[in-house]
């Protein structure tokens, strides 16, 4: 994985020193809260309902064991012994004290991590496919380009005060596991005339105005990508609305202006930038790519996993094999999803002990690599198939052996009203109730993505859940709107709202009604919930829910 150069190390160190001084001045009363707030937000420090919350960037969701041990150490030393992995592939700590944050940032810098640009109206942490560099269906490993985007966007002086926050996602595979069409810019690898470049999508997003991104260019070569991104950002920075934060994202600009005109303006800007200083030389791309070279896979690794035999021995292990392994590009290897969705637990949370144990698994079995997925799970990307059983047994010991990846209990849920100052309703208890209700039957339902947000800001991606749940507050009561048919993949779709909200207690029953429609009317056991919904339309689901 990438290692900091002198520039990276210097700017992270300098920022840590600056923030340490700013905290001292704040405590001494030399800075008011109004002066301090933007400074702390630039360093990922929010004030939530109960305490400060520190959001730490995990660049494109990639970690090594040393970094994961450090995250565990921070949880243990400065927080309450756990961290929360997020849909932005980051980690959040919910209980740090203000005067400890400079020390936390110093400790993060020791392992080449920071919290810069995890908040504010700037380009946020670039996200990608959690199986990048390992997936069997990849055209190209997107991480070198993601790293180059990280370098370009870090402390970019022109883009530090954009109209609103800006999120970029990138995938090197044709199957989109990074939700690129729901980002301000989405990049998807593409082949043209034997060359690999990037399809560029712009103007996607969730929040109060969910939109599927539109394709602005079907092929941008590597060498032109930064210039093209800069051209998009310049057009957005110039025309994006600053008078209304709810209309400030680029999706609104694209929607109101039209993709054709936006494309014209971007192309005009790009013509000015092309072949300039932002042109990416192949030798620089090659240099960055060496950091992401494939690990030394064993050529003779055993390529057989006897799932049927294991099913006879241990049903839970068989379920784990079926759900939590992802096909690797290297014969004899697999990627393992470590579900942070044990039934009844908080989605995305991991204790310090669990983080330490997972770090050791990565060191021993996965070439020291770990990934954070936008679905709030962790991934061991490069595991020998012959090691899977040993890893499973170790996961059992730490309570993280749930074989539920992609099933109904593998729920994305934002922190919701239990923690978040913006939330209107709780998300976590709803996720726990759903998981408890359906865990025993989840294999019957097959792939089913449930996503829960505690407010319209949609951090829980409810718009793109096969079943989405949005918490709202009405006259002091939490109500939950249910949507069906959302899809975060390359077939991107925003879910349909079925009708009025239901109370939290009623949510599991409501889902049961939807699932009954699916089970009764699916063509066969191989037709997934989402396909059945697309075939049947919303009417039978609406009828089941509201009569």
């Amino acid at each position: 994985m990438y290692r900091y150069d002198e520039f990276d190390a210097a700017f992270v160190r300098e920022r840590t020193e600056q923030f340490s001084d700013q905290v001292k001045r704040r405590v001494a009363g030399e800075l008011t809260e109004d002066q301090f707030r933007p400074l702390r937000l630039m360093n990922g420090l929010y004030l939530q309902l109960h305490a400060y919350m520190l959001r730490v960037a995990v660049p494109y969701g990639t970690l090594n064991s040393r970094q994961m041990h450090k995250l565990a150490h921070i949880a243990r030393t400065y927080d309450r012994g756990y961290g929360h992995f997020t849909t932005r592939q980051n980690i959040q700590y919910n209980w740090p004290k203000l005067q400890d944050v400079p020390k936390i940032l110093e400790e993060l810098a020791e392992v080449e991590m920071h919290a810069i640009q995890t908040s504010g109206n700037c380009i946020r942490n670039v996200t990608t496919d959690q199986f990048a560099g390992a997936a069997h269906d990849e055209i190209i490993d997107p991480r070198p380009v993601a790293e180059i985007i990280r370098q370009w966007s870090s402390l970019h002086p022109e883009f530090s005060f954009l109209p609103r926050k800006f999120k970029i996602a990138i995938t090197g595979a044709q199957q989109d596991r990074a939700a690129v069409k729901f980002h301000d810019i989405g990049l998807m690898a593409n082949e043209k005339d034997g060359q690999v470049g990037w399809r560029v999508f712009v103007g996607g997003g969730l929040g109060r105005t969910p939109m599927v991104a539109k394709e602005i260019n079907d092929f941008v070569p590597h060498e032109d990508l930064l210039a093209y991104l800069e051209a998009i950002l310049r057009v957005y920075n110039l025309h994006g609305r600053r008078d209304n934060k709810y209309k400030a994202r680029i999706k609104i600009l694209v929607h109101e202006t039209g993709i054709e005109q936006i494309r014209e303006e971007v192309e005009a800007e790009f013509a000015q930038l092309k072949d300039g200083v932002l042109t990416l030389p192949q030798d620089e791309l090659d240099r960055i790519s060496t950091y992401f070279a494939a690990p030394p896979f064993a050529a003779d690794a055993d390529d057989v996993l006897d799932a049927e035999q294991h099913a006879l021995e241990n049903a839970q292990y068989a379920k784990f094999l079926k759900r939590n392994l992802f096909k690797h590009r290297q014969p004899g290897y697999t990627s393992i999803t470590i579900s942070l969705k044990s039934v009844g637990e908080v989605p995305g949370d991991a204790s310090d002990a669990q983080m330490d144990a997972i770090a050791e698994l990565a060191r021993e079995f996965s070439f020291d690599e770990l990934r954070v997925s936008h679905e709030q799970n962790l991934v061991l990307p490069h595991v020998k198939k012959s090691d899977v059983r040993a890893i499973y047994e170790r996961l059992v010991e730490i309570g993280l052996a749930e074989g539920n990846a992609g099933l109904i209990s593998d729920i994305i849920a934002c922190p919701g009203l239990d923690y978040c100052a913006l939330a209107n309703a709780r998300s976590i208890p709803i996720a726990q109730d759903i998981a408890k209700r359906f865990a025993d039957r989840e294999n019957e339902f097959g792939e089913l993505k449930v996503k829960i947000s505690g407010c319209i800001n949609a951090c829980g991606h409810h718009h793109v859940g096969h079943i989405g749940i949005l918490g709202v507050e009405k006259k002091g009561t939490e109500l939950y709107q249910i949507t069906v048919g959302g899809d975060a993949t390359e077939q991107a779709a925003v879910g349909n709202i079925l009708g009025r909200g239901v109370t939290g207690d009623e949510v599991p029953d409501a889902l049961e009604k939807l699932l009954n429609v699916y089970m009764d009317q699916r063509e066969n056991a191989d037709e997934p919930f989402l396909d059945a919904f697309r075939r049947l339309g919303e009417a039978p689901f609406k009828e089941a829910l509201y009569g």
Partner: protein
């Protein structure tokens, strides 16, 4: 009726105005104001100027049995009692090495 609340600067802990420049974590001890009491805005402005409690606001409460102060908004109940999930409870002022109040 209203009480004044905010988050203590160093710990971020939820605190309530007890009166006479005192703040603490117990909603029951919060000074209660009538809805339109003019001093609420003055006290909020004074606390903002002092700047040791942030995210200041006046929240509606109810008094029951002449004793118990309650807030009907779930948001405020969670602020007063901690997350409804897990066993983490609230942030405590005593957890900070130094508390600004």
């Amino acid at each position: 009726m209203k009480v004044i609340t905010g988050n203590e600067l160093l710990s971020g802990a939820v605190v309530y105005f007890y009166g006479k420049d005192r703040w603490g974590m117990d909603l029951q001890q919060a000074q209660i104001f009538e809805d339109k009491a003019p001093e609420v805005d003055e006290l909020l402005a004074a606390a903002a100027k002092k700047d040791k409690v942030v995210s200041l606001e006046a929240i509606p409460v109810e008094k029951h049995d002449n004793q118990l102060v309650q807030t009907n908004r779930l948001r405020e109940q969670i602020r007063a009692n901690g997350p409804t999930v897990g066993t983490y409870g609230r942030q405590h002022l005593s957890e900070a090495d130094y508390v600004s109040l």
